[in-house]
């Protein structure tokens, strides 16, 4: 299957809108996670303080990132971990490939990790003949299907149980069934054999604690525990922004992350791993390799607005809250990071040239900002990236063509701004508009549906092709307000 790219976001989104199965699934996942999140948030009395505290910890870390990375690596190494640094995806993949070759590994089991998706580790391993098997149930399903995740918490949410059943029948040779329990049991059986045989386990990292060198990974399924306990080598791929200063800081994030992601008070399992086992006969891997990945992250520190992107703890709450994501799902973003946070991180990782439509994939409603457990101002970031596109038209391919063509649009916005800043002129315009709109109004809408606006005024047709307008009311809000309040006081 061809994977979508960020470059064609508009077309991807349009295609997604015609997929009724996808939209049904999206409605279910975003509303369920949204409701559960709200209930879980209400179970703590100091949610606002926790959010502020989490952001304060992240800001403190990011402003001293070099220092905390040094501390983290020194402590982890003292406990037996081996630290590797990777400037980009290619370097990170090379490190993993070298480790795999040294051990003559044939089978690698992986637990869900956005970072390894970001660097396309599976493809790199397969290129040297190493089987890299995803073990998270959702990730396993989409790997079997040759697809990519559509939601960072529920990767296979775009598939129905019937599609998954067909896939298991075809790839695993099971008898036909559409029973979810049977399908899950099949995955358990197949993957256990793989866990028993795997040479290397690869995981991500949710938090790396500077003062102790500990890495913490959260999950519900148990595949991370298996990945980090059974194979002789554990490789953890960690973005440099995942470090936090103190062990005690984990308490804040353990309250925020599960509640924001799945609406749980705590996920089923947390693995806190500090280096390697002390005695050779102890349980667990012999080696722990931690790969610290930059891949464009350090550049995001250069501006306070973009720096916020590095505070993200990958909970997925902004996806569920976003009216755009709710309609189009994750694939349209053409990136491992979808939704509002993806629309700001992807352009910073791959460049605006290849993702110039993403900063516009938002109505700027602010729902993402409201639910973000670390208070990332995503709308501000979107505007920042849009401004960058306008300032340097060359960075945004699509937009640069647009800028040349749209002198008219710029003039129109200048005129609009002038009217908006003059209350009397604004009221006058609204009254004139109310009188004139009868020529273009059809029923109670102005725009594409039944309206004449598109046909009469071609420059506005581009704007109304995707939007309906409500007609201007006879009485403005200010007039209503004056009338309503006149009788009182």
């Amino acid at each position: 299957m061809d994977h979508l790219t960020s470059e064609t976001f508009d077309a991807n989104a349009r295609a997604a809108l015609t997929d009724s199965q996808l939209r049904g699934a999206l409605k279910n996942v975003t509303s369920l996670f949204g409701q559960r999140r709200l209930a879980a948030v209400r179970s703590v009395s100091n949610w606002e303080e926790l959010r502020s505290e989490a952001r304060r910890i992240k800001d403190e870390t990011l402003l001293n990132l070099d220092k905390y990375l040094d501390e983290f690596t020194a402590k982890a190494e003292a406990c037996g971990a081996q630290i590797h640094w990777a400037r980009d995806a290619a370097e990170a993949n090379e490190i993993v490939k070298t480790l795999a070759r040294e051990r003559q590994a044939r089978l690698v089991v992986k637990s869900k990790s956005m970072t390894t998706e970001e660097i396309h580790l599976n493809a790199a391993l397969e290129a040297i003949g190493v089987e890299a098997l995803e073990t998270d149930l959702g990730e396993y399903i989409i790997q079997l299907a040759g697809e990519t995740p559509s939601h960072i918490i529920a990767p296979a949410i775009h598939k129905t149980r019937y599609q998954i059943a067909d896939l298991f029948v075809e790839k695993l040779g099971i008898a036909p069934t559409d029973d979810v329990v049977m399908l899950t049991a099949t995955a358990r059986r197949v993957l256990r054999q793989k866990f028993a045989a795997a040479d290397v386990g690869i995981s991500g990292v949710n938090f790396g604690v500077a003062e102790t060198g500990t890495i913490l990974i959260l999950e519900n399924e148990g595949n991370i525990r298996l990945t980090t306990s059974l194979p002789k080598i554990h490789i953890a791929v960690m973005g440099i922004e995942k470090v936090i200063p103190r062990f005690a800081d984990l308490a804040v994030f353990l309250k925020l992350l599960p509640r924001s992601g799945t609406g749980q008070h705590l996920t089923s399992y947390q693995s806190l791993i500090t280096g390697t086992k002390r005695t050779t006969d102890g349980e667990g891997p012999e080696q722990l390799h931690i790969i610290l990945l930059d891949n464009g992250r350090s550049k995001m520190l250069a501006h306070p607005t973009t720096r916020q992107s590095l505070a993200c703890i990958r909970c997925g709450a902004c996806l569920n809250a976003c009216p755009v994501y709710q309609q189009i799902g994750g694939h349209a973003y053409g990136s491992v990071y979808p939704g509002p946070i993806g629309a700001v991180i992807t352009p910073q990782l791959i460049g605006l040239k290849k993702s110039s439509q993403l900063p516009y994939a938002s109505s700027l409603c602010g729902a993402c900002r409201e639910v973000c457990p670390v208070k990332i101002d995503i709308p501000e970031l979107l505007l920042h990236l849009r401004a960058e596109i306008k300032r340097e038209p060359a960075v945004g391919r699509q937009e640069s063509e647009g800028v040349a063509k749209n002198r008219g649009e710029q003039l129109a916005f200048k005129f609009w701004a002038m009217v908006m800043m003059r209350p009397r002129l604004y009221e006058f315009s609204a009254r004139v508009g109310h009188l004139l709109q009868r020529f273009i109004k059809r029923g109670e809408r102005i725009g594409k549906v039944g309206g004449l606006l598109g046909r009469i005024a071609p420059p506005l047709a581009a704007w109304t092709s995707a939007r309906d307008l409500r007609p201007i009311e006879a009485e403005s809000f200010r007039q209503q307000w004056r009338r309503e309040t006149a009788g009182r006081s």
Binding site: A25, V41, R42, S43, V44, S45, W47, D66, L69, Q82, I83, H84, W85, A86, I95, T135, A156, I157, T160, R161, V180, V181, T184, A196, T212, N220, E221, G222, R225, L226, L230, F247, A248, K255, Q264, H265, L266, S268, Y269, S271, L272, I273, T274, T276, K277, R278, E283, L292, D294, S298, M300, L301, A302, H303, P304, R307, R369, K375, P379, E380
Partner: protein
């Protein structure tokens, strides 16, 4: 560390420092973030820590029993195994190397009880019995510390996990647990700590909650509350 890795470290550190330096002069006025809506619904605090622990654990699908002493706990353990056997789910039993577990498991009626079987063998066991080093009341969480007990795999591979908790080891919050686990000298820290809250679960297929996808399908916890009456919170 290889030469490439060392060069990468230098380059990344340099990029971090120059980015931070570049950002110094930029004035940034943070947006006032809208407070999250909704009035908090918080537990009324009438439950004791042990009761809170059991209530939280049961809310996520765990089964909780409270025993006044070890003898009662041993009887409860035997009863659980008998029930499991009746369902063909309690034939082979794996124990951790905990002395408490050894004492409690003495009376279990089974010919196939082994202490810490080899990993490849452990895949074929039905039940794993372990002790725990702590438990967290506010979340219903078990805390397993690898240095104190060989239970990393016994608690993970068999489809049923039975855990023993001592009431004196129950702490109120995650923060309390973390502060107990933290050591000033990181070298003293346990190399592997596992928090367990309920059975293994997934909702990856059509958001249908399914237990036992990779870890145990069933989790039983026996809390031994043999503290003298004076030390017990008197809400019962």
């Amino acid at each position: 560390m290889t030469n490439t890795s060392r060069a990468a470290r230098e380059a990344i550190m340099h990029s971090i420092r120059s980015s931070l330096a570049a950002s110094q002069g930029i004035v940034h006025t943070p947006h006032t973030i809208v407070p999250d809506h909704g009035e908090p619904i918080v537990a009324d605090g009438s439950l004791s820590p042990i009761e809170t622990f059991c209530a939280r654990l049961e809310s996520v699908g765990g089964h909780c029993h409270i025993a006044p002493d070890e003898e009662a706990a041993a009887r409860m353990l035997s009863a659980i195994i008998t029930d499991l056997k009746a369902r063909q789910a309690g034939k082979r039993i794996a124990l951790s190397d905990s002395p408490t577990v050894a004492r409690l498991a003495r009376d279990i009626d089974s010919d196939e009880i082994d202490v810490c079987p080899a990993p490849h063998d452990l895949f074929n066991y039905d039940v794993g019995i372990t002790a725990t080093q702590a438990a967290i009341a506010e979340t219903g969480t078990l805390v397993l510390v690898a240095e104190n007990e060989r239970h990393r795999l016994v608690s993970l591979l068999p489809p049923v996990h039975i855990a023993i908790v001592h009431a004196r080891n129950v702490v109120l919050t995650i923060a309390d647990a973390l502060s107990q686990l933290r050591c000033d000298d990181p070298q003293e820290m346990s190399r592997a700590i596992t928090f367990i809250t309920g059975p293994s679960r997934t909702a990856d297929i059509e958001l249908t909650l399914t237990v036992g996808v990779h870890g145990p399908k069933e989790l039983y916890v026996i809390v031994i509350d043999d503290r003298v009456a004076d030390n017990k919170p008197s809400s019962v």
